[in-house]
Symmetry: D2
């Protein structure tokens, strides 16, 4: 593939600053397992800071599935379940990872990748109708930005959190693409606000310019106790833990003089901007957007032949094949996507419209 | 700590060649999850080559506990168990990771970190005495080099494999420090021979100069089917899988002209040589070795006060506190350990003898 | 409650013949755990006989959830899943028992408690679209009679089995109320035919006049190996196993001269007949049946006030509360339901219609 | 086998009073699942009474393995472990049932089936030496009477409970043969005292004259929340729950005028008395007792040929085959063992001594 791929936001290695930091610290000797090395300690401080949660626990995972399964497992007891949207990552894309820890996923019928209060309520009613004969819902799983690139508004988020509070449920926010949501145009939900209401949340690194890594902010007492042990027990603890600390420190540290924006936000902004250019261009050309996404994932409904060309030339994923024969294809921009590459997509899109 | 630490072999980042390779390939775009990128494919070929198993499956894990729990889980059915030494990593150092997948660890009474035929037989007899009322042993777990730095001889290994064959058991070799065993002075067991008898084995990278990573060679049909799914399900699949491929390719690729020794073996040889210098020096000074180790871990039984100083100055771990008040301390050398650092240990050791 | 309850078919103890047989054999000493006592051996022979499967394994469980979780667990590997209807017992009424064994339930959108080929296909397509990143469907769970009292026709059953064969899936038939299905008016599916296509099936005793117990017929080699161990491991093995043997022998043994119908079928026939009387009576009175059930469970859609009275007077369960305010109530008849009791229901029903 | 078997205490059905009670209540209709029927409610009251724990939860299981796995699972979090003796039922005789729920069994080296404070301490020290890298012990499992027929003294029990209190551990008492311990000659430990210190305990019915059933007394808040759900989730909930209530009510209800001893104790006393006769007789004949058992299980070390005869004639189990060629055989007496049968054993024993 000579051209840049829009397949996903983890096709490249890491942002150069990340690699440089790993190199600069390479020969230092530190204790392992994220257990007290100065990089992890500093990164913890930074995560607590951006989340406005000075007393929270911060841990680091290598990947998202690992973070998800540990958090869901740790927030639930053996007979409890997690409510999520039908298309939630934990429901369809993680090979039953939650069930493999013995917990049950309770999918709603929401088809837009958000969890609605109405559907949460429906599931909850059904599941509590015969007491112990059914899995008890005690957690809501949501992603921001969502599987379809959407962004939670403060109103929507608070309504769900209010419902959760009233029904003895916690909220866990999978933030594999949290940075993209937070810097999205029109976003009105702050990380501090999310953190103030969630039992736990992740800040994704893998899809935002780190080699790998997800920071996990934990405010719920039960998960604070559970996480360290579960992380080891589930094989999710990195021996050279400081690699995670170095990366998150680099990503979140303010720039010289403390005046600039941290790398973490700049990388996400870059990806969103390229995606916005792509979206504007395609819409202008008359292409039909499949979902309302102000973030780095863009979904378009196109004729199959068009979709095929996009896939061939730009590595797009076919997200769905509709009954009318059209395809939903996904373009993902990353911190590394170049303006020229977007232009190339639009050029092809223009040609295919003729 | 101004001085170099002998705490373990994963205190530093990675060998410079590894980092360089990651940098050189950083901006390339590849498919994720180790699923077909050229680096993983080449690394797979190299692992198959050094193991002499052209038809084996080769997969890559981020860490050892993850590799262990996937392999043990995948080689056993729900009601089966794995025989291992009392001090085996899976029995004491992995927080019940095997039980967390529903399988049972059946520890022998061997106290030297090897599994003896006699003890395997004893466990097997007990566990098969009342049929389904007991966990059925179907796998033997061993490590090479062992938890105490020992190296399996061909005779010992074959005797255990013969026993396993005769009792319907498979053998899984945890090779977190396999390279150190294979290049150890006096070693008579080849990787090819191990691979020819094991259902699966790992080649450790984390403790041998990679940033992270374990290659897993799989010859057993059941595990070939299970591994890919289990790896995802257990949260052990790295999104940017090619990072593992790049590292293992770099470690195992022969040098220019194919005449040199691959980096993987040179790094282990370096660590073993430093450890041998340390051992010789301490023995000459009258220190008492705790175990017979020709590899990069050295255990010495010392007065508590001496042990304390070694820990303070060189980050040693206290491996045991004996009833007579003495300590067993562990020194671990790595690819990065310098000759001068060994000299510094010996200098202190000499001073403490006076 | 002076009147007979229609709450369910396990409100009473056991049919008198069952209790008599337990008494008659009470002081005999036998080996435990169903492992070879003459009653279990004879009952096994009878089950194999009625199923036409001379080589099948037959085991006995105390309850249905236990049988279901053992069979589903044993027929699937860790990363595999079971397809079932949305209202399937394992999906909603067993508190996540399948997930607790690490397997995933994949519910279709079928809303009539049958599994349709179209929905099985839809689930299968989605779940196999990205390989190991999703739970692999390998089993179909169905119940006969269904949760809503329906009966599988031979055509419907064969179509699903054909689909399963073509997609590498097995079929497991939960027969908690199998007898009611098999003796139902219009039924065209034989136990022999079901057994010839299913990997395993159960013949329920608890809901058909035994004190407790489900016989499990197993034809699938993997489950033959797994069942005995899993049954013990999951706590599902009865110490005084012969109690199960005595009961199933009594239920299935032909009568004197071998000319009569075995108790097992007569008890189910009795329950179905009472249910048919109830159904005919209610329909004649203008009540609206909710589902097409020729078996011992009858569902009727009634005004809330009517539903309340049925619940108060006859212990009915409210199966659903519809959006239009009406209720779906369930009447269940058992081997012990008397004709007079049905008449009493109809009397009330008539009064409520005025 | 014309003669009475001494194989175990669950070879027969149930004490006649139990069967009569089941018959007398057979046609009554009750709600299912032990959820509120009058028999279970009364039996709960009786269990709370004999245990002196008016606020405890009382639930009923069909079998011991089911009760054990639910209690151990419910008292531990995913990464925690249970300390028990090497020969503990959960360690060797339940096919990895605890591991199947994801928890780890931590066996001590105690070889007398008691758990000593010294060994508990040793295991605890090892397991807490590296924090989250090891399974955290949080529960002690013990049986009374023990696997070898022994009885916990108050001193021994209190010492272990004191240790547990001081180390953040709970105590769970498997009372499959609790009645035999409590009525044993010389016993100084009361059920009330055990209940006052244990997080949970069971009162076995299966081995003491019931058809089946274990009552579980739960005082620990975590298990009170967990038990009802886990019981369903693990397949351990009996549909016709009242069968358990009827049996335990019958066993524990005081006799006319409240002056007699409840059936439960009388049945155990009968078994113990027969066992004492057997023991005295064998010792007088010069046979060597293997363990100090004042309860209904008696272990004797005998020449192999003698052991063989005992097994043939009286269904004894070979408990161990010693290195010197002798066997340890087990005789178990039950509520149904007759004095004449003991005499027959002694007659053979005398003959074999000649």
């Amino acid at each position: 593939m000579a051209r840049q791929s829009f397949r996903n936001d983890y096709s490249e290695g890491a942002a150069p600053q990340i690699l440089q930091a790993l190199e600069a610290t390479n020969l230092e000797q530190t204790v392992g397992y994220t257990e007290g090395d100065p990089y992890c300690e500093r990164a913890r401080e930074l995560v607590r800071g951006v989340c406005g949660q000075p007393d929270a626990m911060v841990e680091f995972c290598v990947g998202g599935t690992s973070a998800n399964l540990i958090c869901v497992n740790g927030l639930l007891r053996d007979w409890e379940g997690v409510i999520c949207a039908a298309d939630a990552h934990i429901n369809v894309h993680e090979t039953g990872a939650v069930a493999a820890t013995g917990r049950t996923v309770l999918a709603t019928r929401d088809d837009d990748a958000f969890v609605s209060v109405a559907e949460a309520e429906r599931v909850w009613r059904r599941q509590t109708s015969t007491g112990r004969h059914m899995t008890l819902p005690r957690l809501i799983y949501l992603t921001n930005s969502t599987e379809f690139g959407g962004v939670w508004t403060r109103e929507r988020f608070d309504a769900l959190c209010d419902w959760a509070d009233a029904h003895g449920c916690c909220v866990y926010v999978d933030g594999a693409r949290m940075a993209n949501a937070l810097v999205a145009e029109g976003n009105d939900l702050s990380l501090r606000h999310i953190a103030s209401r969630a039992a736990a949340l992740t800040l994704g690194g893998t899809k935002n310019g780190l080699l790998f890594g997800e920071a996990v902010l934990i405010t719920h007492p039960r998960l604070k106790e559970a996480f360290p042990y579960l992380q080891k027990e589930r094989g999710g603890l990195l021996a050279k833990g400081r690699l995670l600390g170095v990366q998150f420190q680099t990503a979140l540290e303010g720039e010289e003089g403390g005046e600039g924006e941290a790398l973490y936000w700049r990388l996400a902004r870059h990806a969103n901007e390229r995606a916005a250019e792509l979206r504007r261009g395609l819409v202008e050309l008359g292409y039909e957007a499949f979902s309302n996404s102000p973030t780095n994932q863009q979904f378009f409904t196109v004729p199959a032949a068009t979709g095929e060309r996009f896939c061939e030339e730009f590595g797009c994923e076919v997200f769905d094949r509709l009954d009318d024969g059209r395809w939903v294809v996904r373009f993902v921009c990353s911190w590394a996507t170049e303006r020229e590459s977007v232009a190339e997509v639009l050029e092809l899109a223009r040609a295919l419209k003729r």
